[in-house]
């Protein structure tokens, strides 16, 4: 399940809803990762653009990769503005066993940071400034500039 929300995530509602949804699924481990906007470098908050078609196919590929391990993935992300100390991201894994859960949440979150088509902006003085220096080129980027 992939959810996009306008503005900050309601973390207690989402963590609880997912826990209850899987309460009879016989998973032994549930690990959510919650990402929260830090007060740093004088920003007022962050803002996000999400490109949903590719995010969905990226997420679906992860669901397919986790299934043979017996693991289930869920994810929620914000669109638009998220202020300081509000949360913009939850990724979660459910699995029968803890090793699979611990390894999957790590790999899933890291690949999310490297690959998910979401762009982050700093909010400063009412402006929305692309956080280029903290952004990562997607694997294979530069194709159009290369002299093949």
């Amino acid at each position: 399940m992939l959810e996009l929300h306008d503005g900050a995530l309601n973390v207690p509602e989402i963590l609880t809803r997912w826990y209850v949804q899987e309460s009879a699924s016989n998973y032994g481990a549930y690990i959510p990762f919650v990402g929260t906007v830090r007060d740093e470098d004088g920003i007022e908050g962050l803002s996000f653009d999400v490109y949903e078609p590719i995010l969905t196919s990226w997420f679906d590929a992860w669901v397919a990769k986790a299934a043979p391990l017996g693991a289930k993935l869920k994810m929620a992300h914000s669109r638009g503005d998220v202020l300081l100390h509000e949360s913009s991201y939850i990724a979660a894994v459910f699995s029968p066993k803890r090793r699979v859960a611990l390894e999957t949440i790590d790999a899933f979150v890291e690949d999310f940071k490297a690959s998910a088509p979401i762009w982050k902006y700093d909010l400063r003085d009412g402006q929305r400034l692309y956080a280029r220096d903290r952004s990562t080129a997607i694997a294979g980027a530069g194709l159009l500039g290369s002299a093949q």
């Binding site: 991201y89 940071k113 980027a141 530069g142 194709l143 159009l144 093949q148």
Partner: protein
């Protein structure tokens, strides 16, 4: 005709152009001064699937998307 769209922070309206492969798109965008700061760091999708070859064939109505560096979370 195919369309080229620019995602996230790239402030550029959708382009329409004739192109039979992604190489044709690359040739146009390399001439575009606005794209100079982006072209080496963008990933490319055709109809919402990431691609890795300039020889990718394009057909009428295809959508090419340029994805600049990402930072979700």
């Amino acid at each position: 005709m195919i369309t080229v769209e620019f995602l996230g922070p790239i402030q550029k309206p959708i382009l329409s152009m004739e192109a039979s492969t992604l190489r044709d798109v690359a040739e146009v965008l390399r001439q575009d001064d606005e794209m100079a700061q982006w072209i080496d760091s963008c990933a490319v999708a055709v109809n919402d699937t990431l691609v890795s070859s300039l020889d990718t064939v394009l057909k009428e109505g295809d959508k090419v998307s340029l994805l600049p560096p990402v930072c979700g979370g």
